[in-house]
């Protein structure tokens, strides 16, 4: 199993003729993912790498049975593209773009929740269920199938972290990028709930950072008696307060947003802490062995 995305995915790429769109048509095909339709205004009836192109998401879904969308449009048009896709009935949408106004992220999140759809992003590489399907632009060689769930606020960190996990024999059920912006579609609490319900996920690895409060969702979860074992790596231990470290949400504005406060809460909740990237595979293995012990 996996969360949200599996081998039955039929992917629609909105913005299929752009730089990211043309890259992903080929890249997803090489990652065993079926791309069944693309959207590009005014190019109805054409094809990109044998993928039919439509002008409307509704028509594309009706004709191809697409059930997952990857949306590559600039921030100025992103809200319209995401709303069209949600309202066309698409249950799973990844919007990887960054620089999205927060008000638009709020509208996207609200619309997705109301429709019962899952939105991944903004400012995220997307979602991958290794060996099954990929809805995003993360490098496939970093991933391998296995029992570990990965939730990450950072794209770059998730690539290298998963590469290290895979190299250590710790494959993944699904890896979800919840994004580096303050308001998002699927958030940490919702991702954790999905992985909790996935029978093949044995342990959860959380890759977080300074700023915001997402990490406390894991601390809350880890205290539940039925929680799956978890490990966490938070980056930004050496980041100064009051400075935005790349991501819109990676800024320490209060003590609760600092590395020390979050690590303390996670540690007290029983999450295995990796102090550095170097310690991540060990922490993940330790969480997984706890899962094995409790199953035995």
């Amino acid at each position: 199993m996996s969360i949200l995305l599996d081998a039955s995915a039929r992917v629609l790429i909105v913005g299929i003729t752009g730089k990211f769109g043309t890259f992903s048509v080929k890249d997803l095909a090489q990652s065993d993912t079926k791309v069944v339709a693309g959207i590009a205004f005014g190019r109805d009836g054409q094809a990109i790498d044998n993928v039919p192109v439509f002008s409307s998401v509704g028509k594309a879904i009706a004709e191809t049975g697409a059930n997952a969308a990857l949306i590559y449009v600039p921030a100025a048009g992103a809200l319209d593209a995401v709303l069209e896709t949600i309202e066309a009935g698409c249950p799973l949408i990844a919007y990887p773009g960054d620089g999205l106004p927060v008000l638009d992220a709020m509208e996207m999140r609200t619309s997705a929740l109301r429709a019962g759809a899952h939105l991944v992003g903004p400012n995220s590489p997307g979602l991958i269920s290794p060996g099954k399907a990929k809805l995003g632009f993360m490098p496939s060689f970093c991933y391998a199938p296995g029992p570990i769930a990965v939730i990450s606020r950072s794209g770059s960190l998730s690539y290298e972290a998963c590469f290290r996990l895979s190299s250590a024999g710790l494959g993944q059920t699904s890896v979800i990028g919840i994004g580096g912006d303050p308001v998002r579609g699927v958030n940490a609490a919702e991702a954790i709930a999905l992985f909790h319900d996935d029978p093949q996920t044995r342990a959860i690895v959380y890759l977080g950072e300074i700023g915001g409060s997402e990490e406390y969702a894991l601390a809350d979860y880890a205290q539940r008696p039925d929680a799956k074992p978890s490990a966490a790596l938070l980056v930004g231990r050496t980041a100064p307060a009051g400075k935005k470290m790349g991501h819109a949400a990676a800024m320490i504005g209060s003590y609760a947003e600092s590395w020390a406060a979050k690590i303390d809460a996670l540690d007290r909740a029983g999450v295995v802490i990796a102090r550095d990237l170097d310690g991540l595979a060990g922490a993940a293995a330790s969480a997984l062995s706890r899962a094995m012990e409790s199953a035995a």
Partner: protein, 379 residues
């Protein structure tokens, strides 16, 4: 383009509050001695530095003046000060308030609320951060605000019925400001209760959402103004789509992606040294981007050595290797450089680097250990 964050000056913020019918003290923004001398304010006044960074009160940027002479004196000395590297462009001379109480009221973005949260504390003022965390009313979209829900929360911390209702209506107006101007934070601290029980905004801290600049010309103008104010190096990086934050250490770090750049900073710390910067070149991993990065770090006196750590996902590290060799060949600085290019095409990157006499480290940790050792030797 990315700058730290778009904090408006108090004068600008209060203009937005006034336009939303939130009372502010009578005030004059003064830019020159002529304006100071012509100012017909009644004394005493608060004289406040207008800067786009926090903490000015503790840094001496707020003074009391009881006469025209004292106002001129305060103006001269404040305009001569710097706050987090920034010189005030003006001061605000503001009627001294007859304060009964100081409250804290803010609208901010909260990830766990999925949007806006309203924050309230019955004890506002300069030491707000030392007290208990404020009451949090999570709402998400502004249209989800419900006076009765907020009232229920306030009942636990605020007994005065009239005051409670004034706080509720002010909170709704703050949400209007936040929505209409696309703000990440609209904070009034202190929200002053006057002796007659009415509320006045003693300060205004408004942070605009820079991502909305494409449809908010006022935000675009504020970004352009902050670009003029920004440090020259930060501006060069922002224009080239690199993300730079200077830190206090000695290892110049060039990395890719916000998360991995922070991970590398932490690894340098773990190895007993300190990073000199957060420098993310993933937005522009080209000869121009890397050249700018080297130029900045080679010039910076504090930087004793440079670590380049890139993990190639979409990025082809063999191309990066070629770019780096071209730069290293012509570079005049003798600061040691340590390389670590992993991921896509890293075998070819290693070969290319070896051909030019450079070692490509297999892991971040090995590269960090190497640069820390070399810098230690250089010191």
């Amino acid at each position: 383009m990315h700058y730290a964050f778009m904090l408006l000056t108090e004068a600008h913020g209060k203009a937005l509050l006034r336009a939303a019918a939130i009372p502010t003290p009578l005030s004059y923004e003064l830019r020159s001695l002529d304006e100071v001398r012509a100012c017909a304010v009644g004394f005493p006044v608060a004289v406040k530095a207008q800067v786009s960074s926090g903490g000015r009160g503790k840094a001496g940027g707020i003074r009391k003046a009881a006469s025209a002479f004292e106002l001129e004196d305060a103006f001269r000395s404040i305009m001569d000060m710097t706050f987090a590297g920034e010189r005030p462009q003006s001061v605000l001379a503001e009627s001294w308030l007859d304060i009964a109480r100081e409250l804290y009221l803010a609208v901010t973005i909260d990830g766990r609320a999925g949007g806006f949260s309203v924050l309230y504390s019955p004890r506002g003022g300069v030491d707000i951060e030392d007290g208990p965390p404020p009451l949090n009313y999570p709402i998400g979209l502004a249209r989800n605000f419900r006076a009765h829900e907020f009232r229920k929360l306030l009942e636990g911390v605020e007994r005065d019925v009239k005051l409670r209702e004034r706080i509720i209506s002010t909170a709704r107006r703050l949400l209007d400001v936040a929505s209409n101007h696309e703000c990440l934070t609209v904070e009034i601290n202190p929200l002053v209760v006057l002796k007659d029980g009415s509320l006045v905004a003693g300060d205004a801290k408004i942070v605009l959402d820079d991502a909305a600049a494409f449809r908010k010309s006022a935000t675009a103008a504020a970004i352009a103004a902050s670009r003029e104010m920004a440090d020259r190096e930060i501006r060069r990086c922002a224009d080239a789509n690199l993300m730079l934050v200077w830190l206090d250490g000695e290892i110049g770090l060039i990395s890719g992606g916000a998360g991995m750049t922070m991970a590398a900073m932490d690894a340098i710390d773990g190895a007993g040294s300190e990073p000199a910067c957060f420098l993310d070149v993933s937005g522009n991993p080209t000869p121009a981007g890397f050249s700018l990065a080297f130029d900045l770090l080679d010039r910076a006196l504090r930087v004793k050595g440079i670590l380049i750590s890139m993990f190639g996902g979409g990025l082809h590290t063999d191309r990066v290797a070629k770019t780096l060799i071209d730069i290293l060949k012509t570079r005049s600085s003798t600061k040691p450089v340590v390389l670590r290019l992993n991921g896509t095409s890293s075998d070819r990157a290693t070969e290319i680097l070896r051909g030019a006499g450079y070692h490509n480290h297999a892991t971040l940790e090995a590269a960090v250990a190497d640069i820390v050792k070399r810098v230690g030797r250089a010191a």
